[in-house]
């Protein structure tokens, strides 16, 4: 355990604020909630900087772990009767009409159970390794692999109607158009 100085706190904020916000935004789907979570993450770092242990992981992992806990807490508050990780969960196809492609993908990802969603976001978007994710979410690496696999399979089914449209999608996402 080391002592984190004020300048280090500021540097950590500047370096990781985007990653923390992005992760919270992808987990919650709400800019306001994501901002709240990001603020809380750095506040908890300021209040208890001694909790960060560089031996156990990077600062980014530490901050994203806090963001993850806060996101899951929010999800539990909003869905008190649902389970975090539904193994048998299957995504329904998403209607892409009049929705931007990125938004369709976002909706599909956010419809995943939280435990699958966080692993997918950390792996696909934040480019964490499976080992890092396992430490961050405090799970076995096999469990992480399994969750990631299920998340991808769910997304393949949910987004199946978007297959073979790469060329169209690229032009539409460039022009910010919608899929008809």
């Amino acid at each position: 355990m080391t002592r984190v100085t004020n300048s280090e706190l500021k540097a950590a904020f500047e370096e990781h604020k985007d990653a923390v916000y992005r992760f919270a935004w992808r987990m919650t789907g709400s800019p306001a909630v994501a901002e709240d979570i990001a603020q809380e993450v750095f506040l908890s770092l300021v209040r208890q900087p001694q909790r960060f242990d560089p031996v156990r992981g990077t600062m980014r992992s530490f901050l994203l772990a806090i963001a993850r806990n806060l996101s899951l807490k929010r999800w539990r508050d909003e869905h008190p009767w649902e389970e975090l990780g539904e193994e048998d969960y299957s995504c329904d196809p998403i209607d892409p009409v009049r929705i931007e492609l990125g938004e369709v993908v976002g909706k599909a990802v956010q419809s995943l159970p939280p435990l699958q969603r966080e692993v997918l976001i950390l792996y696909e978007y934040e480019e964490f390794t499976l080992d890092q994710i396992a430490r961050l979410v405090a799970a076995e690496i096999g469990t992480v692999k399994s969750r990631l696999h299920r998340a991808r399979e769910n997304l393949k089914r949910a987004l199946a109607h978007l297959g073979n449209r790469e060329t169209v999608n690229k032009s539409r996402s460039t022009n910010h158009g919608t899929i008809k």
Binding site: Y21, F42, V109, G163
Partner: protein, 142 residues
């Protein structure tokens, strides 16, 4: 419908871009914000049962205070200072009024203590009490 393959899914996942942190996300370090800014932006999370209990307690206290009679503040008795009476020097001092205490002849029970007033002393009505029982007697004039 055929599910996507891995390559297609990877390409689609890249389409979902997250925004950067907004500028309103300030660093919670230092003292950039003044206390009143903090006061306006501070939030207080209160669990519903606790908030409800506080509301009920407040309403009960308000009702209790409302049911209590308003205490009447009695003005302080403004007793005028007794004028100083300087003794009149005379060769034959008049008998003081307080010394006159005619008791009815048929009065029973202990008589109140009579205080003798020496001549020249200023009589005082302090400790004066009205009689407990008044016995009237009608005298018919013939």
């Amino acid at each position: 419908m055929e599910p996507l393959n891995d390559r297609e899914l990877d390409q689609l996942l890249r389409q979902w871009q997250a925004p950067a942190a907004p500028r309103t996300l300030g660093a919670p370090f230092g003292h950039n914000a003044s206390w009143w800014q903090w006061l306006w932006s501070a939030k207080l999370q209160v669990p519903v049962p606790v908030g409800f209990a506080v509301l009920v307690a407040g309403a009960g206290l308000w009702a209790y205070m409302g049911s209590q009679p308003t205490p009447q503040i009695q003005p302080k008795a403004n007793v005028p200072a007794r004028p100083r009476i300087s003794p009149v020097e005379s060769s034959t001092p008049a008998a003081p009024a307080a010394a006159w205490n005619p008791a009815p002849k048929n009065e029973q029970g202990p008589r109140p203590e009579q205080r003798s007033v020496s001549p020249g002393e200023v009589p005082s009505l302090a400790g004066f009490q009205p009689v407990n029982q008044v016995k009237t007697r009608i005298v018919v004039q013939r």
